[in-house]
């Protein structure tokens, strides 16, 4: 969606109201090839003045599994709906698969599952997918292939209304795969699934991400995102508060050192790694350094007569980072 005064997503995709003046903020075509999704200042307000999505700038690169993380009501689904053209932003712009959101040319390259899988309850799984195939302009031969991919061939002739929640979600993924899309947008695909179903869905997403697909998956489940995603965007109260790799998000590696006498150990470590690298945590010392220094650190402390009772790597969990970023209370 290109809005007045906003940079267009790609050359040749300008709307009538877009400026034609070159803008340094406009991504080059080469960069667009790398970014399957790019948004700038994407904003959606609702009638009562509620800002559901507030100036979101996000990028999803070709070939990655991108986790869109946020608590319930943070604006994940609204953002994804804007990306597939179901709702219009109030300001900002987005380029999805090189097109304005909702344009048929872009949608032809996208498979999506937004919120729960929605199909006609009176049609069988197979007939529902035939409907999807007809709309998408895909041959019916593809229907059984995607049913097989999500392990639903045996239930293909059953009415959708008789499917379990897990089967419904898998049918939703099958529909998303119908077009052999470059980009998959999956909104909370494990919602409502039992633990086994969640594990299966995670495996499926990981498998898809290892193939030719780029996957944008939203979730409020941190463990899920940590397991399957290369990069993460964290959204809170409509704002994208952080976008980085999972490793970057969790912070740099550090070592926890519990040693006596503590003040001698602290002085030695400060000399070795610099004073800013040494901190206090839970009655022990936290040293910001690579894990490969642990053996040398241990040997030097021992040689100096410092007794090391505990030496182990420490890293913030994604959960800790998430709660820091979103300001949510842990355990609430």
């Amino acid at each position: 969606m290109i809005l007045p005064g906003s940079p267009p997503p790609e050359g040749g995709q300008r709307s009538a109201c877009a400026t034609t003046t070159p803008d340094p903020a406009v991504p080059s075509v080469g960069r667009m090839e790398e970014l399957l999704i790019e948004t700038k200042g994407l904003t959606k307000r609702y009638g009562s003045g509620v800002v559901a999505v507030d100036s979101v700038d996000m990028t999803v690169r070709r070939g990655e599994v991108y986790g869109f993380l946020g608590p319930n009501g943070a604006g994940k689904t609204t953002t994804l709906r804007m990306l597939v053209g179901l709702i219009r932003p109030d300001s900002g712009w987005a380029s999805v698969a090189g097109n304005e959101p909702g344009k048929p040319a872009g949608l032809a390259r996208i498979g999506s599952l937004i919120e729960q899988a929605s199909f006609y309850p009176y049609l069988s799984g197979r007939n529902n997918l035939k409907v999807v195939a007809d709309y998408a302009g895909v041959a019916h031969e593809r229907v059984d292939a995607v049913l097989d991919e999500v392990d639903l061939l045996d239930a293909a002739n059953r009415r959708f209304s008789t499917y379990s929640t897990g089967m419904k979600q898998r049918l939703g993924v099958a529909a998303a795969l119908m077009k052999k899309p470059e980009l998959l947008i999956l909104d909370e695909p494990t919602n409502g699934l039992d633990p086994q179903g969640m594990a299966e869905m995670r495996m499926l997403i990981r498998r898809l991400g290892q193939g030719e697909h780029t996957v944008l998956v939203s979730s409020h489940l941190l463990g899920e995102v940590e397991q399957i995603c290369d990069r993460v965007g964290v959204i809170s109260h409509g704002r994208l508060v952080r976008e980085s790799t999972v490793r970057e998000l969790r912070g740099s590696a550090a070592l926890l050192v519990r040693a006596r006498p503590s003040d001698v150990a602290r002085q030695m470590l400060a000399e070795m790694f610099g004073p800013e690298a040494v901190g206090q945590v839970d009655g022990a010392l936290r040293v910001s350094t690579d894990l490969e220094h642990s053996a040398e650190l241990n040997a030097r402390l021992a040689k100096a007569g410092v007794a090391v009772s505990e030496l182990r790597p420490i890293q913030k969990s994604l959960e800790e980072v998430f709660f820091q970023l979103t300001g949510e209370e842990q355990g609430s």
Partner: protein, 276 residues
Amino acid sequence: MIGSIKAEWRKLAHRPANMIAVGGLLAVVVLIYSVGYIEYTWPVASQAARAALLKQGLYPGGLVKNLIDGVMPLGAAMTLVLGALATGGEYGWGTLKTVLTQGPGRIQTLVAKLVVAALGVALVTALFYSAGAIASMIVAGIDGHAIAWPATIDVAKALGATWLILYCFGLLGMALGFVFRQSAAAVGIGLVYLVVVETILSRFIIGFRGGDYRWIAKGLSGANATALVQSFGQIIVDPRAAAPLVGGTHAVVTLGAYAVALALVSATLLRWRDVH
């Protein structure tokens, strides 16, 4: 576009509500002829002469006059409900988002719905008259009555008028489905409008200030549909009955305008509103 039409047809053809409605319509035809046959063959003594006239309508020659009475408001109400279910259901089940994310544009999706609705109504119209024709042949056969069909042009006009009325009210139901983004309110308000509001409004307007505002009533959809039905004449002319409000041609033009306007309302709502 062909793909979207195929998809819409698959949905229409498999939907139980549509099957039930068509079955119900055919049952109505059977009832009209079977109950009519019993009533007019063995009438109460005081009604014998009238019954003899009415029985003529059960023979093939009375096909058009006998059946077209069932179109308004019964058939119109049926297609209004089915139209509301067709579009309101897409919101209720959340399937509109499934459809729109597959790639067809919103207007293309609507055009496919309109085309399939037009074809569906044509099929229902053909089935309705075919069932009536078979029933009338059976009645004629039982009575040993000669089989003489109405003029082809009259049958063609009746088919066209029936299609137009059913399609117009089907489009009203579809537009209400888009307005309310659900089936229940669309069906309820649509039926109340068709059966109650139009009737009361029409009578009020016609009677108000000695009929000075009669021209308003001439623009109401129900009044035009009723007039179109009446333009085919009746088996027994009731001298006390009010004359049709408008002529057949006026009714066709007005209903056609309604159909276009309702399609435009649907297109505007689908094109510009967010889909949640």
